[in-house]
Symmetry: C2
Subunit: 269 residues, 2 copies
């Protein structure tokens, strides 16, 4: 019956005419100019709803691996933790479920998706494909200023590693994320970037498990691979950039894969 209702959709009142695109108040030139100069100095404040904040927070937590795989989340529990009502949380959870960042069980409870071997391989393949394409596109489009920007991040990385003995994993993960997305943002595709974000969201809980284990041996390699990526981008060599990127993101997945397999083998005995 819902189907029937929708067939007769056109002409109903939920269709609002698209805006004409014309600015309505194109009148006194002087006032207009005054407003423009003001607009040039002020940055738009931009409303942010509670739901948006909840959503971003949950995203951050997922990508950062603050939630473990298989962990069950409840609306009221999260609402308490975030100090809001249930409403923004339930909408944010629904959005994360459609992105496959969370999983809706038949009981109607929601949990962080579990890690399986197939899923790991599946995620790695998808990420190599899409992020590889994005970096290949970016390689031909990045200007020297943008290259310099990510090179600066590399420097910041070294500096952080040199100064602090304590491994600040959260900081490192954030920096890694910024490094990658700074590059992807240059690919010029408004379609690919949300897909990459979705993939990071899905692989977040997985790779965090790996990162914790590898901080010592992994760090130097990470810097090495990132340098390779920057070098390829500087030469505008799309193919080399793609390969360096795939090598970079493959490592934690391969590590996790081995760990899972050996765990399964030990479980078998």
């Amino acid at each position: 019956m819902i189907t029937l209702a929708l067939i007769t959709l056109f002409g109903f009142n939920f269709i609002r005419k698209p805006k004409t695109g014309q600015k309505p108040g194109m009148h006194k030139a002087a006032i207009e100019r005054t407003n423009e100069t003001i607009a040039a100095q002020l940055t738009p404040v931009g409303r942010e709803t509670v739901q948006d904040r909840v959503y971003s927070e949950l995203r951050r937590a997922l990508i950062g691996g603050l939630f473990e795989p298989n962990q069950v989340l409840t609306i009221r529990g999260l609402a308490d933790a975030l100090v809001t009502s249930t409403m923004p949380v339930r909408e944010a959870l629904g959005r994360l479920i459609t992105e496959k960042a969370l999983e809706a069980l038949p009981n109607r409870s929601v949990r962080v998706p579990p890690i399986t071997l197939e899923r790991i391989d599946d995620l790695l393949r998808a990420r190599s494909l899409i992020e590889g394409e994005a970096i290949a596109l970016a390689a031909t489009r990045m200007n020297p200023r943008q290259i310099a920007s990510i090179e600066a991040m590399l420097g910041e990385w070294d500096e952080m590693r040199a100064l602090k003995h304590k491994k600040d994993i959260d900081r490192e993960a954030t920096l890694n994320q910024s490094f990658h997305f700074e590059i992807y943002r240059c690919c010029g595709s408004a379609v690919l970037i949300p897909m990459i974000e979705s993939l990071w969201l899905q692989s977040g809980p997985c790779i965090r498990v790996a990162i914790y284990a590898f901080s010592d041996a992994g760090e130097v390699d990470t810097a090495h691979y990132h340098r390779r990526i920057v070098a390829a981008l500087a030469k505008q060599d799309a193919q080399a950039a793609r390969e360096a990127l795939v090598a970079d993101i493959s490592r934690p997945f391969a590590f996790l894969r081995d760990k899972l397999q050996s765990a399964a083998a030990k479980d078998q005995t």
Copy 2:
């Protein structure tokens, strides 16, 4: 402050222990057997929430191109049309916005994303990349029974076209969708398929515009390209399948592109 609240997340009551996976009632063997025979005959009823139905309906409408680009949708309007309250609709809209199937304007109103040249090229590139990969994977995995299944759909297509003079565009679009997803489902990737669905959702409003215009000249070509795809799959030729698919999905985009460019040129004069 929300950030601080989340940092202290672990150990809170919203973490529920994952289920043990053990069936609790593993007792009298006779009763167990009786229940199993009953279970074998009955199919699980499976709850479907109102929100799910609304979401599916809106998806169907978007992929089918029932909404025009730039069209503004309102929660209450849709709720009236679907004969529910606003609650399921607003959650469904939120989910569609995160998938980029709809667009949230700064006014907090939501609309179908507009068509631009860049967006068309962007969508086509992403679809070629991902659906191409999916079909290449499927080519090496489809068994003869699955091949026969999509061949049967080809036959159904011819039959439909031969019998009806009237172009049943909705039916045709549905069949086209089934044809493609039947193939993609064989690629064995739980990650790629939702991404493809998301891409169809985004390109739905665009390509519908094209399909309306090309039904006459396009139909025979469509059948031709689909046959090429099936032939390549039957030979397990991944590369040929990918090329045939790209050719297939490129046509409506190219058509739309020309139409848009000529419209822009005419607008210029």
